[in-house]
């Protein structure tokens, strides 16, 4: 997989040996690229969509979909078995299996949702539910939205007959409930089924999507939910067939408040924001710490990324280097800042020497710390893996990974000195600590500190093994500026979005799709909204491989 790039070679000189498997993978990927491919020539004009596995709705998508389908905001999916994550995201098609437990949870959720939906039966059905003709209309209407495409005649007949039978042996309401339950447990609801468009077969290797399939691709990308009426109407009118039509819809959709949920979901996962929820700090070391601050910490970063990306047409540079943030009164008090009142999240200007976008948000830094101290290792590791896309191996089994004990006579840098002197440690830690130490002015709770208990802080560092010409920096803001200027960082963020958008790893067949995204991201100065919209213009999005059936 492309994800496991190059790090084994970089992580050397210590305990980490050459990783044959990763290198092999890399060679494989190289082979998949067109011969002689360079940045300029990966797009040969041949359409190449990459794989397109069957995708199950994630638990979040399930909740959003039943909200939009039934007006039911009870979010039963929050209690469903978790899928885990692959390549950093929980929507990877490979891991979205259905265990017996989840199938049972789907059953119970369908029962409750159907019960809620039939509380006002006439409203749901719109006519006399004892009449087969009325039921036929309901099933056609509701089924089109539930399956996100019109029902075939056979499917319609089947469901109407199912309702009819059950009405005879139960009662009218129960029969409608059972019909709804069956649809909510159907693979046509729970999966995003794509069979391709029957209208054209221009190639042996790819097929266009049907209009309805394209509508779902758009809605699940931008909203993590089912299409709305306008999108369904466009599908029905065959108005989702050109790149321009697709882009116009995406541009409309990204202005909808539902897109905010998508931006939050991506950044929650990319930036590991859920880890803020379970932070635990030592209140002897941090007497100001209160667990109640955690949701505010998470909210700060979510507000910042959403407003930056969607409201302010912001760039990757803004995300990494901004000298402002969004706070409510309570969180402003935590930072010792003023401005916001009450629970209104307000834009607050920050000291440029002490701020670097999300990188210096307190929750982010507190999550990348130990309960009683900062952690240059974790802070550096985060940037290496999430921002530079260079995954690192965990420490070897026989090593003591306990952070050095607090010592009032030593700074954190001094206590971690072994990582840069002992050759056993240095091989990997030179990829982490020298970046993490740049954040030493932020304590284990993410708050600015002028010194460490009276000892002067040295926050100089280096960004090793990246495409940064002058790797030396001093302080978080300077580090952020270097990262913002890096093509590697820009490509890494592009890859993260690609994996999130398609629920899979990028492959050799995606070389052109990725290149188009990188070009667009670069040409717009790293505009994140433009990147999201550009995803809809790639081969990977617009078509799928042919030959669904073997």
């Amino acid at each position: 997989m492309v994800a496991a790039a190059a790090i084994a070679a970089a992580c050397q000189g210590g305990h980490i040996g050459e990783n044959e498997k990763q290198n092999e993978n890399e060679k494989q990927n190289e082979k998949q690229k067109p011969p002689g491919a360079t940045q300029a020539s990966v797009c040969t004009g041949e359409i190449s969509p990459g794989p397109s596995p069957l995708r199950r709705l994630t638990n979040r998508e399930y909740d959003n979909t039943v909200r939009d389908l039934l007006g039911d905001a009870t979010a039963p999916g929050r209690a469903f078995a978790e899928a885990g994550e692959a390549l950093g995201f929980d929507n990877n098609a490979d891991i979205l299996n259905v265990s017996e437990l989840l199938a049972e949870q789907y059953m119970h959720a369908a029962e409750t949702l159907a019960q809620n939906a039939t509380a006002d039966l006439p409203k749901l059905v719109g006519c006399d539910p004892n009449d087969d003709g009325c039921i036929r209309g309901f099933v056609q209407r509701f089924g089109t939205r539930a399956f996100r495409r019109p029902l075939a005649q056979g499917e319609l007949d089947h469901l109407v007959a199912f309702n009819h039978e059950n009405r005879a042996i139960t009662d009218t309401r129960t029969a409608v409930q059972m019909t709804v339950q069956a649809m909510l447990q159907s693979p046509r609801f729970l999966y995003r089924v794509e069979l391709g468009a029957p209208r054209a077969a221009p190639s042996d290797t790819w097929v266009p999507l049907s209009d309805w399939e394209m509508a779902s691709r758009l809605s699940y990308l931008v909203w993590g939910s089912m299409p709305d009426d306008k999108l369904f109407a466009a599908a029905a009118a065959g108005a989702l067939r050109t790149k321009e039509q697709v882009l116009a819809q995406a541009e409309r959709m990204i202005k909808d408040p539902k897109a905010r949920d998508m931006v939050v979901d991506f950044h929650d996962q990319w930036l590991h924001l859920a880890e803020i929820d379970t932070i635990d700090k030592n209140t002897t070391v941090y007497p100001d710490y209160r667990p109640e601050v955690r949701p505010l910490w998470r909210r700060e970063t979510e507000e910042f990324v959403t407003r930056t990306v969607l409201d302010e047409n912001g760039t990757l540079t803004t995300l990494l280097t901004a000298n402002h943030t969004y706070l409510n009164a309570e969180l402003a008090a935590f930072y010792g800042l003023s401005g916001p009142t009450g629970d209104t999240w307000t834009k607050v200007a920050l000291d440029p020497a002490r701020s670097a976008g999300f990188l210096t948000h307190a929750g982010h830094l507190a999550a990348l710390s130990k309960p009683n101290q900062s952690s240059p290792v974790h802070r550096g590791k985060f940037i290496r893996e999430q921002v530079l896309c260079q995954p690192l191996p965990p420490p070897p089994p026989n090593v003591d990974v306990t952070p050095p004990e607090l010592d009032p006579k030593l700074t954190t840098r001094e206590r971690f000195a072994e990582h840069s002197t002992n050759p056993m440690c240095k091989g990997c830690h030179h990829l982490m600590d020298p970046m993490g130490l740049g954040f030493e002015h932020y304590d284990g709770m993410g708050k600015w500190r002028n010194d460490e208990g009276g000892l002067a802080i040295d926050d100089s560092g280096r960004v090793e093994d990246a495409d940064i010409a002058d790797p030396a920096f001093r302080g978080a803001a300077a580090l952020a500026a270097k990262l913002a200027s890096s093509t590697q960082v820009q490509n890494c963020v592009t890859s993260q979005w690609f994996r999130y958008a398609f629920g899979r790893a990028e492959t050799g067949a995606d070389a052109c799709s990725l290149q188009r995204l990188r070009d667009r991201f670069g040409a717009t100065g790293g505009n994140v909204k433009a990147l999201i919209l550009a995803i809809t213009q790639t081969d990977a999005f617009l078509v799928r491989p042919s030959g669904g059936k073997p």
């Binding site: 885990g84 059953m107 069956a182 306990t402």
Partner: protein
């Protein structure tokens, strides 16, 4: 012969419920099925109370010198020290092991914690996979069924749930976070949230019998319709996608097959528990309360014979949970890596493991409090406390700090401290299978089962 009737028998016509014939058929009530079920039931009753199996997990090994863990004294006259002191009232009901080694975990893919966890109840090495491990290696899930699931296929066929998997503070979906396997590469996800567990397990207990009959019939009907939808769609898809749908359909078929199975020998102590209070179940400070709620649900599900097999996974392998509620600020895994001579760290590890032992003791005491036959439910249960490591700081798994409580209906002679010299843990797992009547000569990797089951447990 007991006068109790199982619910299926009642549903199928003996309970005075009026439901339509198609529904009865949908429930799988053929003309002779009531007799058949009643007969099966009588057979079960003749054999006495059912046996149960429970495995409780805690992580990161025990205190590194074992001084606060290991009993001293002889096989039958031994003294418990700090960690096991909560078991003092249950000394006659336990087997404490020394020198049982997880040998199979020294091979195969994965890091020490991944291997320790995946092999713990399966006795098999891990698959190749994508979970990151040490030395740049990767690992997948375990490559075989776990002992609890093997037992469940023997004794769990007639209960509403073949097994129930509970956890507390278990985060992540990786080989670190799974102890129970239905088969190779099929880990069973445990539930962290007692409120969700309560709804799942007890939601329809004590509901009106007629309503239950109707629910079962309706579910059967809906699932049939859903399955036919799966069938229609599968044929249109390519290999990998079709296999994915087929696994999903298999899960639905399994649910369908047990729709009608309910309690067959509910103990008189069976009652629907109150709904658990709404608590943030992943909040570290709530760990003790959540653990108690989960244990209470687990014990009541056994009491009501809703299942006979359960696992309780406290946190996960390799976790860095902070036991703030014990006044210990150090993350657990980090703490487990201090040297043997670090007395302060050892004292903290003893305290943490003592707390886990208190949970185990509460589980034992809860089972003991349920009268059954001439004794208690504990007499018909085996309750294993297991760990993925032995010695945390060097990951030695040569002497697993495991304890077994309960006699499993006379299969185990308890009240002893058993010393072994590096006996592979596969043989202990095989002994567990035999206690439940599973006929097998080996369990897990046969290479680690030479000598067969341990001879001196009964």
């Amino acid at each position: 012969m007991s006068k109790r009737l199982d619910r299926r028998t009642m549903l199928c016509g003996l309970g005075g419920i009026t439901i339509g014939l198609p529904l009865l058929e949908a429930m799988g009530c053929s003309q002779d099925s009531p007799r058949e079920v009643a007969g099966k039931n009588a057979a079960a009753t003749d054999k006495g109370p059912p046996k149960r199996f429970v495995a409780m997990f805690s992580a990161n090994g025990t205190e590194n010198t074992y001084a606060t863990w290991s009993p001293t004294g002889s096989e039958t006259d031994f003294t418990l020290h700090e960690i096991l002191s909560p078991l003092e009232p249950h000394k006659k009901d336990i087997l404490v092991f020394s020198g049982i080694a997880n040998e199979v975990s020294y091979g195969g893919p994965g890091d020490a914690h991944q291997r320790g966890m995946g092999t713990m109840l399966t006795g098999r090495t891990l698959l190749e996979g994508t979970f990151p491990g040490n030395e740049g290696q990767t690992a997948g899930y375990a490559s075989g069924v776990s002992v609890d699931q093997e037992i469940a296929s023997k004794i769990g066929a007639t209960t509403k749930f073949p097994s129930l998997e509970y956890s507390v503070q278990n985060n992540g979906v990786t080989v670190y976070a799974r102890m129970s396997y239905k088969a190779s590469n099929q880990p069973l996800p445990p539930e962290n949230n007692p409120a969700a567990m309560f709804t799942r397990v007890f939601g329809d207990l004590d509901a009106d019998k007629g309503a239950i009959a109707r629910t079962i019939a309706q579910r059967k009907s809906v699932l049939d319709a859903v399955l036919s939808d799966f069938g229609a769609l599968s044929g249109k898809l390519g290999g990998a996608d079709r296999a994915r749908l087929e696994r999903h359909a298999e899960s639905i078929r399994s649910i369908e097959s047990r729709l009608g199975t309910v309690a067959t020998s509910a103990n008189a102590q069976c009652r629907k528990p109150g709904a658990p209070p709404t608590l943030a179940f992943m909040e570290p400070a709530n760990f003790p309360q959540i653990a108690k709620l989960q244990i209470d649900l687990l014990v009541m599900a056994l009491t009501c014979d809703l299942t006979r097999v359960s696992t309780l996974q406290l946190v996960r392998a390799n976790n860095n949970f902070v036991f703030g509620f014990l006044g210990i600020p150090d993350p657990h895994h980090d703490l487990s890596h201090h040297g043997d001579s670090d007395a302060v760290a050892n004292q903290k590890l003893a305290k943490i493991n003592n707390w886990f032992c208190q949970q185990y003791a509460y589980l034992i005491a809860s089972l003991k409090a349920i009268p059954e036959g001439a004794g208690s439910m504990l007499d018909n249960t085996a309750l294993l406390w297991c760990n993925e490591q032995g010695k945390g700081n060097n990951h030695a798994r040569k002497s697993m700090p495991w304890v077994l409580a309960g006699k499993a209906g006379g299969a185990f002679r308890t009240g002893r401290f058993l010393r072994y010299e590096g006996v592979p843990h596969n043989r202990l797992l095989l002994s567990l299978l035999h206690a439940y009547g599973v006929e097998a000569d080996t369990f897990g990797d046969p290479a680690f089962c030479k000598g067969g089951a341990l001879g001196n447990l009964a």
